[in-house]
């Protein structure tokens, strides 16, 4: 055993010598191969790991090898110095590649090893998304080098932006200052969000003169540069003045400049539908029907096209549509949630819709859910059979979108539902 140990040590020393020589001669592949064998024979060979680190093909690899060295000799000066440099280089490289979070990891470790390095703190500041951290790291850099003008300017910019964000909020319509951003301006009483459309359209408290001034201002702005803000605030002002059609026009223009804003699109859709309904019904603005309450509708149909048709029609009204292509999926969905209404196809594979209707009506958690039959069959007896099974309504395919919406919203109305239940 001892002979073998001596042989191994001798072999290791020879390999190390040869590896270092190859490295010095610039033959990196041979050096790496020889030094790898060295650390394989003796994992505690700090010199072997250090030389391997100097030959590493990537920053991560060098860091790993250097950690090996420091695990063996924690105060190894060369390794510490080398690691400080590699961590900074790697942090900068990753930061430049755009991965600020990973860059921060390297740079924070570099800052622990080398707290007096100005570059480490500056790069750390550049990776931060929080103004407080950026400011703290810039302060560290400035403490090391108080004469760095760029750091001073950077710090000033951060402080200015911070103070601006905390400064007084102004109403976008009347421009009055407020303590904080609010859904209703305390000064002109205009509603400033589209969250509650009833509140904004039915707003009788708003200062009309202030709103007309806002219209003038934003109209001019929109003429000069058709940006999102001008059209959005024109829309808000018109809504507060109960001029829905004009509001929709401008909100739609705003939406086209910010197509990713799905919430805005939904609200515009609701507004337009509401306006449209009031025009066709000849209802005066003050007597308009309330906006629809979003409902959850379960559609059970084995036709993917019909499921999609129903989803498109109802989702643009703000409803949520859950789809099932047969009895098993329908029962699974009904176990997960209780919809506000079920749209049910009659002709399904393996069973018929009447049986599913019976199941829905006999289960405790779903017996109150209105079921509307959706069928290509228009026969009198089909409709009677549907009623007998517990369905409240019957829509014949092909259906017009307005018919589907009217039926669904009418049966989802709680007052209608309770009337139905009383009748039964």
């Amino acid at each position: 055993m001892s002979n073998l140990g001596i042989t191994l040590t001798q072999t290791g020393a020879t390999l190390l010598r040869e590896g270092i020589a190859a490295a010095k001669a610039g033959d990196k592949p041979s050096a790496r191969s020889l030094l790898t064998r060295v650390v394989e024979l003796d994992a505690a060979n700090a010199l072997g790991w250090l030389w391997l680190a100097s030959l590493a093909e990537s920053g991560e690899q060098a860091i790993e090898y250097l950690r090996r060295v420091l695990a063996i000799e924690p105060q190894h000066e060369q390794a510490l110095e080398f690691l400080r440099r590699v961590l900074l280089t790697q942090g900068i490289k990753v930061a430049k590649a755009g991965d600020k979070a990973e860059a921060q990891v390297y740079l924070l470790e570099a800052s622990e090893l080398d707290p007096g390095n100005e570059a480490v703190w500056l790069w750390l500041a550049s990776t931060s998304g929080e103004s407080a951290k950026t400011e703290a790291w810039l302060q560290k850099a400035l403490a090391i080098n108080p004469t760095n003008k760029r750091t001073v300017e950077w710090l000033e910019r951060i402080r200015l932006a911070d103070s601006l964000s905390k400064s007084t909020w102004r109403c976008p319509l009347c421009d009055a200052a407020g303590a904080e951003k609010s859904e209703r301006c305390q000064h002109c009483r205009a509603v400033l969000t589209l969250t509650d459309l009833e509140a904004i359209i039915g707003n009788s408290e708003a200062d009309r003169a202030a709103l007309h001034q806002a219209l003038e201002r934003y109209r001019r702005q929109a003429e000069q540069q058709a940006d999102f803000n001008a059209n959005y605030y024109l829309g808000l002002a018109y809504l507060n003045l109960n001029q829905v059609a004009e509001a929709v026009k401008h909100l739609h223009r705003a939406s086209r400049r910010r197509p990713e804003d799905e919430a805005l699109k939904t609200q515009i859709g609701l507004l337009w539908r509401r306006e449209n309904a009031s025009q066709t019904n000849g209802v005066q603005p003050k007597e308009r029907k309330p906006l629809v309450v979003p409902r959850t509708i379960l559609i059970i149909d084995d036709s993917a096209t019909v499921r999609k048709l129903v989803a498109v029609t109802l989702e643009r009204r703000g409803h949520r549509v859950i789809a099932a292509d047969g009895v098993m999926e329908a029962l699974a969905k009904l176990n997960e949630l209780t919809p506000d209404l079920v749209l049910l196809d009659i002709t399904l594979p393996h069973t018929d819709g009447y049986q599913i209707c019976n199941l829905i009506k006999s289960a405790a958690n779903t017996k109150g859910v209105p079921v509307v039959i959706l069928s290509g069959k228009d026969g009198f007896f089909d409709k009677v059979r549907g009623r007998t099974a517990g369905a409240v309504g019957y829509i014949t395919k092909p259906f017009e979108p307005a018919t589907l919406v009217r039926t669904v919203e009418s049966y989802c109305n709680p007052s209608h539902r309770s009337e139905q239940q009383e009748e039964r």
Binding site: A245, V248, K249, H252, S255, R256, P259, E262, K265, I268, G269, W272, R273, N276, Q279, T280, D302, S303, A304, T305, V306, K308, L309, V312, T313, R316, D345, I346, T347, L348, P349, S375, G376, K377, K397, P398, F399, E400, P401, A402
Partner: protein, 199 residues
């Protein structure tokens, strides 16, 4: 074609009663979407009739597909946003015939496929379709392409990219259902789809 389109404005009755010229872009989009939803709902019912045939009858299947194409072509004639030279049935058929050459033989008159001529067994050009599974299949696939061509035109009529995407999503589902349905329309097809009559 021009003659068919000339009275487009007189044929067009807005769903919501507002004249087309007075509608905002949003209103026009919603109205177009309503019409397209109803069109697909109608086409879906024709497709169900096609799927209910067990085994599929070539003549009836062709008749249903032709009916689908004609209904879709009819819609292009009344939509004010479709320009006369945007799409014609003839051009769509020409495009489809590059992939399915037999489609070129389908008789067209006044922007409509002539159902009687196509499914009439006595017609010199088309009568052989019922006897040739490959030819029949090619024509069916070609007609689906013609439908797709029209659907793609409708897609360009929306102002809103969201509604454009929604329409695309809807017609892709329908076309994929329809392609599945026409797969069975071959006299030689021996595998039946099972009794999945839908309604």
């Amino acid at each position: 074609m021009g003659a068919v389109r000339r009275d487009k404005e007189t044929k067009y009755t807005p769903i919501n009663g507002v004249p087309y010229e007075e509608m905002t872009e949003v209103e026009r989009d919603f109205e177009l979407e309503d019409r397209l939803i109803f069109l697909v709902a109608q086409l879906e019912q024709l497709m169900i009739r096609l799927m209910e045939q067990d085994p599929p009858q070539p003549a009836a299947a062709l008749e249903l597909l032709v009916e689908m194409v004609n209904r879709t072509a009819a819609l292009t004639e009344i939509l004010p946003s479709v320009k006369d030279d945007d799409v014609t049935l003839l051009r769509s058929l020409e495009d489809a015939s590059r992939i399915h050459p037999l489609v070129h033989l389908l008789p067209v008159e006044n922007n409509r496929l002539l159902i009687e001529t196509i499914v009439g067994a006595g017609h010199s050009r088309m009568g052989y379709l019922s006897a040739s599974p490959t030819s029949l299949h090619q024509v069916c696939q070609g007609l689906v392409l013609v439908l797709r061509d029209h659907f793609a035109l409708f897609e360009t009529l929306f102002y809103s990219p969201t509604m454009q995407d929604r329409w695309k999503g809807l017609y892709h589902v329908f076309v994929s259902d329809l392609l599945y349905a026409v797969t069975d329309v071959q006299p030689s097809h021996s595998v039946k789809r099972g009794n999945e009559a839908r309604g």
